[in-house]
Each structure stands twice: as structure tokens, then as C-alpha cells.
Amino acid sequence: MLKNYIKMALKVLLRRKVFTCISLVTISFTLMVLMVMTALFDHVFGSFPPETRADRTLILQSIKGEKLGEKSYKVSPPSYAFLKRYVSSLTQAEKVSISEISWSTKATFRKGEKIESRFKHTDGVFWEILEFDFLEGRPYTVQEVEEGQRVAVINEATRRVFFGGDQAVGKHIELKDQAFRVVGVVSNVPAFRLMTFADIWVPISAQKTDDYLRYDSVFSGYKALILARSAAEIPLIKEEFADVLTRVEYPNPDQVNHISGGPTTLLEHTLDGIFSFSMLTSRGFIALVGVLILLFMLLPVVSLVNINTTRILERASEIGVRKAFGGSSLTLVGQFLVENVILTLLGGALGLVFTFLVLQMLGASDIVQYAEFHLNHRIFLYGLVMTLVFGLVSGVYPAWKMSRLHIVEALRRRKQ
């Protein structure tokens, strides 16, 4: 039966070339937009090196501190000492890493040109939680960080700028008026991977003072990455941290004597970010963006439903004849849905090709530094699901209309 449907569908599609073309363009373009959006989302939030364990990694990068009874409060990144005391000790976590929340910039002047490198302070566990793609050498170890060694891991771009692409391990790079020994070179990390992005990574201990070890404030500029044993254990860690917060000792309780907040997944964190960004701009702007996205999704569906409905009306007489000769409404609806899904699948395949091209262009355009976008099985799978949903949704209303066509009326339309 299905085989018959498919054969018939292909025949019909080939016969109505203009309509098939219009539908194909509409479908493939819409799916391209959806798939590009999925791909971007996936590359920012999905599991990509070095954040291959995003699904079971929690981030604590800001806490809310206040003095109970007073109105004012402060939301800020926690201090190293606070994290060391209260997060590194979490028993539910498999591993905890503490690193600088953002990065510092180092300027190098070469023949009148200014080269800017971003460097980030991290601990040794950082390299155990994250899976960087090492081109040469190795990461620095927990021990090296403890000993305060001046070692560095650099990215490919930095190796090219400073060492002309030659082997860099063992050579020295000048940073903060000191020489750092390069121990490893990793592939570039795209700039939207805010948790890990940098050009050069150096030990937390490579600061000119040891102030960071002193617990004189709960706030400073660090974040913790917490690796859970499995995604299912994430709530346990959140619970444990909430419990820990009740027992915090405050270094200066006259300013802050209560802390709230807790670790979040990357996605949760980003949603929070969007929410606080909406404080910066008008609420209307955010609403507008939401409405726009909705319209972009809705319009192609309505367009397709419209053209599909018209396509059915054109075939009213055919439907009339089929019904007259015993085709039930149900088989006709089935036939049309199959036809529509086949068309959508063809459009989806085209859309995938377009998506590939657009992602290549985006990567080449350097909108985001070091960003490369690839198609992968996840995007392909999402794409396939979206394609099927799209095909069914845009086919249901026309098919329903078709099932309600009266035989006599349908046959009469042939004349007109």
C-alpha cells in the first residue's frame, strides 16, 4: 500500500512541476533557516570540544550576596577562596575546577603592529574536566599549579603568531613581564565558548601576588566548573550546595551575611543572561525578538498550507473520481499525507545542502573568532524530525479539507 502511495506521489509531483518547485523552494528554505538555527544553538550549547561533557557539567559563576535586613545586594562572581572552601569540597561532585571567569588581554607590539592575546588563569583540574584537542604537548598538572610554575598552554593561532607555526613546546612566551614555558598547544576554541575560550591558559598561581588565596571576601572574579558523575546526579549537587550555603562563614559579615544562588547548567546560565540583558534594553525589544522568531516559523507553514490547499482544489475532479470509484476518505488523506511528506523530505534534503553552505559561509565570515560550524549527526537528526513534523503539519489541514469534498461537487468542478 505504502509503496503504491509513494509511486503515485512521485508521479503526481512530476506532473505538477511548477507547484512542486514552489513547494520545494519554500520547504527547503524554511528547513534551512531552522537547521542553521539548530546548528548555531548546538555549537554554543551542545557537546563540542573542549566542552564535551556539557550535559553533566555545572557552572557557578555568580552569587548573590546581601546583608539581611538591608535592601541593597550584589550579584558578582565568587572569590577563589570561597570556591575552594565551599565548592571544591562538594562530595557529590566527581571533579571541581576553579578558573578565572573571563580573561585578561595582553598586548604585544611587533614592528609597529599590536597583537592582542587573551589569557585565562585556571587550575590543573580544568584540563581533566574539559577535553581539549591537543596538537602537541600536554596540559599543565595540578602539581605544577601548586608549585606556581610559569607554564602555559597556547592555542594554534597563538603558535602561528609567535612561533610561525613551528613546534612550540619547550619554547618560552612572554606574559606579564615574565617568561612562560609552553607545555602544550591546543586547537582554537571559538569565542562563543565563554567558559573555556582564551588564546593562552596559565596557572592560577601565576599571579604576582598570593592575595587570591586569602578568604577576605566572598566576591572576586572566579568561577567553578563542577563535573557530576552523571547528568542524573545534577540535582544532588545543587541540593548539596544549597545545604553548604547554610553553613558558610562570612569574612566580613557587616557587609555580606547571606548568600543565595547556586550552580547551573550552561543553558540555564545563558537564559539567566538573556533575562538580565532584558533589564538593559526595553522589555519591548525582547518581546519583539520573540514575536519575530514566532512569525518566521509560522509564515512558511501558512504559506505551505495555502499552496497545498490550492493544490488539492486543483485536483478536485481527480479526488471526485477516486471517491466515485470507491476510494475512502481515509485512503485519500493517507495518499495526500504521504505525497506531502515525500515532498518535504526532498525539500529537507535540499535544505541540508543549503545549511551546509550557509554554515561554511558563517565560519568563513569570522563573525565569531575561531568559530567553525559543522553538520553533525545531531543536527541531521533534528533536521529530519523537523522535516517530518513540517510535512505532517502543512499537510493535515489540506488533507482534512480534501476528505470533506463532496463527490458530486468535486466531479462538477471538472467542468469549470
Partner: protein, 390 residues
């Protein structure tokens, strides 16, 4: 004739409903895209209130990971840093400011809201307006003598002054919304659109940065043509003054370029997607109209026989789709007109009207273009063939 068109459209309301819905959504899409772009474009042509060329920002901060660059006070006094920087003959002017008072710094230090918008505040030194090229329109800027005052002198922007006092007799006023502060306005600058060319008119309050308050952010104006490599000299001289400190220098021109990218890239992407989506709508509309026309060959032939010219047939088909489009456009219009009432968007009424007109124009243009091909087919229908279609 118009009534006749409406009647035909009404009697085919089921078939036309989807098309009207399509037009309705397209109208909203064009309106939102156009209004965003026009709002930004409208801002672009407004004066910025300051100059970004040949201005560098110097951050002087300890080599220590902390929440914010320049968050701590350098171990040397502001005067010493001024002297060091003024020592370079290619530096024309030196001033200092709060991090958030500097141009192109994302982030917000808000005081209160006026007309639903945040009013930002930042402290700056006595030389700031000269260094940045702010344009004082009335009153005066801060000076040494303000240190002895027992009240807080402030300078505000003209747009804020207009929002608060209608722009008149601003000097000497207090800001009621800012409760519990003993401040008085001593001057008004033409504007200060801190976040750059695409931002709204600036609602900004300058306070005076005392000698002791400096947080390590300096703004310098350099002689035109100074090479970027000169930054290394600043870097070395300041580091020599405070061991364990790091220096970070950025040009306002660079900050401006990245702020442009931040605004234009999404806008451009939105524009491209909108155009493509509209193209899609146009394709499907043409297809639908073409299909309808072939279903109506007989009717067209009849109209020709009864005295309708080819042109009148075309006018009729185009007229019908225009009527359908109008339903969508009017529905969209009614919805969009609710936005200002709900205070969803704070566009000026000019941008509103312009975007609505533009959206309507695009939609009508689109449907007319879409009816061209089917209309031409209809015109070519010979009455004889149409009437003997059976």
C-alpha cells in the same frame, strides 16, 4: 466596482482566509524588521555627543583576577598618572572616569528610570568633557572649586533635561526621581550616547570624580596620526611606576567597530532572512493565484463576453488580491497600534508611521507583483475558448 470585488472576496472567504493570514503575518514581519532598522538608522544620523577618533582608554590594574578591570585603586595618585601621561608630547589631553562612564562599555549603572528608560550615572574628572569632546550647551562643567561645595554638582544630557524639565531652566534644578541626594544641575551637554551611534538619545548623569576616587581608568586624547605602537611606551612607563600592575589600552575607534558589529550583524541577518521569507511568500502567493486563475477560466471568458476588456480582467484579479491583502494589512495595523498603548515599544511616532507605511507599501507591492503573471495569463484567455472549455 470595489463593492463587487469585496463581494467576490467575501463569498470566497474560505479560500481567501489563508492568504489573508499569510499577508497578516508578512505585514507584521515587515513592520517589525523595518521598525528595528529604522529605529537604528534614525539613531545613526543623530549627533553622538562626543568624538571617538584619536581617543584611547588606558586601564591600569593590578595583576590579580578580580571581578572587573580597573576595579581597584592604583598605588600611585591620579596626579602622578596624569603627569606621566602628559609627559608624552603626542598626548594632548588626559582625564579619568568610572569604567561605566566611558563610551562603548556594555553594562549599566542605573539610578532611576524616566519614561521607562534607565538613567545611567558615572563619575568623571574635570578634564573629561575636553578630552572626549563633549558639547556643553548651557551652564558649566566641573572645576576645582566644586571640591569645596556642600552639595553634589551634576551635569546631565540635553535629552534627559528635556524629559525631566522640558529642556528649560534646567540649571540649578534638583532631580526629584533621584531621592535623598543633595544634588544640583550645573550644566547640560548636547548628548552623550555612551553605547554608540545606534543607541537611543543619552539619559546620562555625570558626577564629579574627586581627586581620591580614581579607579584606574584613564581617557587620553592623542595627536592625530599617532601609531598604535606608541601604546607600548604608555605600557612601560606606567608599569615602571607600580610593580605588579598591568596596563591595558584600547582605542575608542576599535570599541566602536566592535559595537557596530554587535548591532549590524544581527540586523543584517534579520534583513536577509526577512527578504528570503518574503520571497517564499511571493512564490506561494503566485502559485495560489495562478491556480485560482486557471480554475476561473470560464468566469473570465464570460466577463470578456459581457463586455469586460482584457485590462479590466487584470484589474479585477489584482483588485481581488488587493482586497484580500487589505484585510491582512488592516488586521496587522490594528494589532501594531496596540503596541504603543501597551508600552511595548518606545519608538517615536515618526518611526512608527514610517514603518507602517513602508510595511503596507511592501505588502501591496508584493501582491501586485504576484498577480502579474496570473493576470497576464488571464488576459490572454480568449473568451471563445473559455466558454467552450467543457
Amino acid at each position: 466596482m470595489i463593492r463587487h470585488l469585496c463581494k467576490i472576496v467575501w463569498n470566497r472567504k474560505r479560500a481567501n482566509a489563508l492568504t489573508a493570514l499569510q499577508i497578516f503575518i508578512s505585514f507584521l514581519l515587515v513592520f517589525t524588521t523595518a521598525s528595528l532598522a529604522m529605529d537604528k538608522a534614525g539613531n545613526y544620523w543623530r549627533p553622538l555627543g562626543f568624538s571617538y577618533e584619536n581617543r584611547w582608554v588606558v586601564n591600569f590594574h593590578p595583576d590579580r583576577v578580580s571581578g572587573r578591570v580597573g576595579g581597584e585603586k592604583p598605588p600611585v595618585s591620579r596626579r602622578q598618572v596624569y603627569l606621566a601621561l602628559e609627559g608624552f608630547d603626542w598626548i594632548e589631553s588626559v582625564s579619568s572616569a568610572d569604567y561605566m562612564a566611558l563610551p562603548y562599555r556594555l553594562g549599566l549603572q542605573a539610578l532611576f528610570t524616566v519614561d521607562g528608560r534607565f538613567v545611567s550615572i558615572g563619575s568623571v574628572s574635570d578634564q573629561f568633557h575636553q578630552t572626549l569632546g563633549l558639547d556643553l550647551v548651557s551652564g558649566r562643567w566641573f572645576g576645582e572649586e566644586d571640591a569645596a561645595l556642600d552639595w553634589k554638582p551634576i551635569v546631565i544630557t540635553q535629552p534627559l533635561s528635556e524629559a525631566l524639565f522640558g529642556g528649560e531652566d534646567t540649571i540649578g534644578q534638583k532631580i526629584e526621581e533621584w531621592q535623598g541626594s543633595n544634588e544640583r544641575i550645573i550644566g547640560v551637554v548636547s548628548d552623550y550616547r555612551r553605547l554608540g551611534e545606534f543607541s537611543d538619545p543619552g539619559f546620562f548623569v555625570f558626577t564629579r570624580q574627586g581627586e581620591e576616587e580614581n579607579r584606574g581608568n584613564f581617557l587620553v586624547k592623542v595627536r592625530p596620526g599617532t601609531p598604535l605602537a606608541a601604546q607600548e611606551q604608555i605600557d612601560r612607563r606606567l608599569k615602571a611606576m607600580a610593580p605588579g600592575y598591568e596596563v591595558n589600552i584600547t582605542t575608542l575607534a576599535d570599541s566602536r567597530a566592535s559595537s557596530f558589529k554587535l548591532t549590524l550583524v544581527p540586523l543584517f541577518a534579520l534583513g536577509v532572512v526577512s527578504v528570503l521569507v518574503l520571497g517564499m511568500v511571493a512564490l506561494s502567493l503566485s502559485g495560489v493565484l495562478w491556480q485560482r486563475t486557471t480554475l476561473r477560466i470560464e468566469e473570465i471568458g464570460l466577463r470578456r463576453a459581457l463586455g469586460g476588456s482584457a485590462a479590466s480582467i487584470y484589474a479585477q484579479l489584482a483588485g481581488e488580491i488587493v482586497v484580500v491583502a487589505s484585510i491582512g494589512v488592516i488586521a496587522g495595523l490594528l494589532l501594531v497600534l496596540q503596541f504603543p498603548l501597551l508600552e511595548l515599544l518606545n519608538y517615536t511616532s515618526g518611526i512608527y508611521a514610517l514603518s507602517l507605511a513602508f510595511a503596507a507599501l511592501v505588502i501591496y507591492g508584493l501582491v501586485i507583483v504576484c498577480s502579474l503573471y496570473p493576470g497576464r495569463l488571464a488576459c490572454q484567455v480568449r473568451p471563445v475558448e473559455a466558454l467552450h472549455h467543457e
